[in-house]
Amino acid sequence: MAEIQERSMKWRYIRQSLFFGVLRLSMLLIALALGGILFYIIINGIGAVSWEFITQPPTDSMTKGGIMPAILGTLYLTCGAIAVGLPLGIISAIYLTEYARQGRLVRIIRIGVNCLAGVPSVVFGLFGLGFFVVFLGFGSSILAGSLTLGFLILPTIIGAAEEALKAVPQTFREASLALGVSKWQTTLRIVLPTAVPGIMTGSILGIGRAAGETAPIMFTAAAFFTAKLPGSIFDEVMALPYHIYVLATAGTNIEQTRPLQYGTVLVLVALVLGIDLLAIVIRSRMRKQKRW
């Protein structure tokens, strides 16, 4: 009897070790996937990236030269997306966490945010084309692209800001209200400043996403090639993600421009993951320094 029990006990622990092995293996596979992709991109791209590559425009119908206009275009579009998404997102979150009472209207707003988060990026592109480019007559432009990207990242920013606002201790609000400060002043002077680091780190992840998206800007802002840099927000721009797509699939000489493609991929990955890494580092610092 005791022997049987011992054997079954042993078996239970063998099963456990096997299971833990599988868990470790899956995590390892995921880490290897990321590592492998990054390693491949860096190894192949590093040779193409130089000061000239980053600061010069393309030449010889995009088979030589640099990618400066695309970098600039991506920066414009990303800043535009921040200008649209950040204020709207933060104010929405303030309303939802600080002001709204549970009710039908709040439920509708929440459903709206959730649905918006699930809209495929290419559908955002169609929306940008149908509404900003055609209906409002902005044409394919920085303005249309920024608005499209801004609304795309809106749910991410609302989510991040809500979480950060909820993390502010209730006692902070109560102390301020007890001093006779109005609700709006409390929100603006006490709650928001406390939540700003949290809002920022969460939003940065959304901003990284805006910088790397291709489908939403294909029909709303991105140009195959522009001879001049954009002069106003009504001009088209080149953008890094779209540039990669164009070079890799529709270029006149795909094989010949391979180094340019690797270089552009490396620059985009460095930009986007750099932004994400920044957020991750700031957040882990913040967690350690938390005072309440």
Partner: protein, 295 residues
């Protein structure tokens, strides 16, 4: 203006701004229908959804999007089959057995993976995975369902993993302790107690991962091969809806039937994604584990 009215005024302003998400959602529907509905003057809804031939530029053009819908569904399904075990198992690893130091590192890895731009993953699939598949299995092309699904799985894993992880953390501590107290091993506790309690969160994670895969554009555009036909094997090329829209919108003349048909495809995609999100929302609300008293 006295203080009370001022506060009320501010509240209304905030409310109006918070409505922006709902308004944008409305505008998305408005724009899709405004540009997409004209196609139904030329072709019936059934012929559009169930038509087997997508030849938008032939004479006369044929706008049957069933092959595109099938393409979208098949890559989503296969990528889910690949991504769910990896995503859920990695979440269990991070939430339950990883040492504290590794936990932070692996969470960052998942987050960085989520941050990789889709065009970069598509590029990787084209340049690395496709030639390898083609040579190894002696195929006419490496741009096919398997390739697209594998790359899509990489995109869906972070979504599935991070949401599942949150669900696992949310399982009340008492459950675990009670299970250990009964003499269960850690493995038995995870499989019999923690995972079943987190099931609604994990299901939500899987559905949101699928919704991410079905809406993904650049990967399938670059890697799925682009053949608008019902596939017969996993090594066939397909043309998912998103790829069709992205590839053809640039060439479709403004307000032509083709242009409309692409917007109408967008409507189908929009509602498909909406259904996925509704189900996720429903599952996470309905079967939510609230405290330890409800089991």
């Amino acid at each position: 203006m006295n203080r009370h009215t001022k506060e009320k005024f501010i509240k209304y302003i905030l409310f109006l701004i918070a409505l922006v998400s709902v308004i944008v959602l409305g505008l998305i529907v408005f724009s899709l229908f405004r540009e997409g509905l004209p196609i139904f003057k030329k072709i019936g809804l059934a012929d559009f959804l169930l038509g087997l031939e997508w030849y938008p530029t032939s004479e006369p053009p044929l706008f049957g999007i069933l092959p595109l819908i099938v393409g979208s569904l098949i890559v989503t399904l296969i990528s889910t089959i690949i991504a769910v075990p990896l995503g859920v198992l990695s979440a269990i690893y991070i939430a339950e057995i990883a040492p504290a130091v590794l936990k932070e590192i692996f969470k960052s890895i998942i987050e960085l993976l989520a941050g990789l731009p889709s065009v970069v993953l598509g590029f990787f699939g084209m340049i690395v995975v496709a030639p390898w598949l083609q040579e190894t299995f002696d195929l006419p092309t490496g741009l096919n369902i398997i390739n697209a699904s594998a790359i899509l799985a990489i995109m869906a894993i972070p979504t599935i993993s991070s949401i599942s992880e949150d669900a696992l953390y949310a399982v009340p501590r008492e459950f675990k302790e009670a299970s250990y107290a009964l003499g269960a091993t850690k493995f038995e506790t995870i499989i019999r107690v923690i995972l079943p309690s987190a099931l609604s969160g994990v299901s939500t994670a899987v559905i949101l991962g699928m919704s991410r895969a079905i809406g993904e554009t650049m990967v399938v555009l670059m890697v799925a091969g682009g053949a608008a036909a019902i596939p017969e094997s996993l090594f066939d090329s397909v043309r998912p809806m998103t790829a069709s829209i992205a590839a053809e919108m640039g060439e479709a003349p403004y307000r032509s039937a083709h242009y409309s048909a692409l917007f109408a495809t967008g409507i189908v995609l929009f509602f498909l994604a909406l259904v996925f999100n509704m189900i996720a929302d429903y599952v996470s609300n309905k079967y939510k584990q609230v405290g330890s008293a409800t089991l």
